[in-house]
């Protein structure tokens, strides 16, 4: 595996994703994917793949950071992750079959739903 350090634009996108990840307890993909597409000019599919990879160190350090302050429920995390690791393989299979344009529409739609749910609930 060759480590390729990202261009300044992409590095900026990564820092922004990290900031939002720490602030909101998310992976940061919501921010990283569109930034990689719109600012760094990556294809939707490639941006999504890079995002999944980038989320590994971001979530690892983020979780550790919350754990230090005791803000973590281990059994709940295990339950969610147990389902998640099964589901993510289905998802990647689906991602490979959907066009870039449709992926982007799906992405936008999901964000809208999530935003509405967050305010309404």
């Amino acid at each position: 595996m060759t480590v390729t350090w990202p261009a300044p634009r992409e590095a900026g996108a990564a820092v922004a994703a990290g900031l939002l990840s720490g602030l909101f307890g998310i992976g940061g993909g919501i921010v990283l994917v569109p930034l990689l597409v719109f600012v760094a000019g990556r294809a939707q599919r490639e941006a999504q793949a890079l995002s999944l990879m980038a989320i590994i160190p971001i979530s690892a350090f983020g979780a550790a950071s919350y754990a230090v302050t005791g803000r973590l429920d281990f059994p709940f995390a295990v339950a969610l992750a147990a389902g998640g690791v099964i589901g993510v393989r289905w998802g990647v299979g689906l991602m490979a079959r959907v066009s870039d344009r449709d992926l982007r529409t799906l992405f936008g739609a999901l964000m809208l739903v999530a935003a509405v749910a967050l305010v309404a609930l």
Binding site: M1, A7, V15, A17, G18, L20, S21, G22, L23, F24, G25, I26, G28, G29, I30, P34, A40, G41, R42, A43, R45, E46, Q48, A49, L50, L52, A54, I55, I56, P57, S59, F61, L72, D73, F74, P75, A77, A79, L80, A81, A82, G83, G84, I86, G87, V88, G91, V92, L94, M95, A96, L106, F107, G108, M111, L112, A114, A115, L118, V119
Partner: protein, 140 residues
């Protein structure tokens, strides 16, 4: 126990979305943990981040096998993101109340959604974006 089972089932769905769209799925897990798990906002966020870790590892391994993107590039991107994450997690826990976080979170999602849907309607917008070096064809 019922709660854990429910979270497992929700995890299946979140994982599927995570793989399809390349996100961690935390934006869904945080509200789920607050509403179903009964956690406070900050604990939900920490728990979400912990759940995201194995999901993203499995996702990255699976996606790498399809040759869509280079793992070294993705991980180095993440390593840079860690800097922002470490600072923000401390700021969130110590200085920002949960309710304000939720509203700020929703606002971020709305802005991003608008950008995404606009990009999907006018794909030429992306073609005009500078700095592209992604010439790889989509995996299939």
């Amino acid at each position: 126990m019922t709660q854990l089972l429910l979270l497992f089932v929700i995890g299946l769905g979140v994982g599927a979305l995570s793989g399809t769209l390349g996100v961690g799925g935390g934006f869904l897990m945080v509200p789920v943990l607050v509403l179903i798990g009964g956690l406070d906002q900050h604990t939900a966020q920490g728990t979400s981040l912990l759940a995201i870790l194995p999901i993203s590892i499995l996702g990255a391994v699976t996606v790498r096998r399809r040759g869509v993107a280079d793992l070294g590039r993705g991980l180095s991107l993440g390593a840079i993101g860690v800097v922002g994450s470490l600072v923000a997690a401390q700021v969130a826990v110590r200085f920002i109340p949960g309710s304000q976080l939720r509203i700020a979170f929703a606002a971020v999602l709305l802005v991003v959604a608008a950008q995404m849907l606009r990009g999907a309607r006018w794909p030429s917008f992306r073609a005009a974006a500078p700095g592209s070096d992604s010439k790889e064809p989509p995996a299939g």
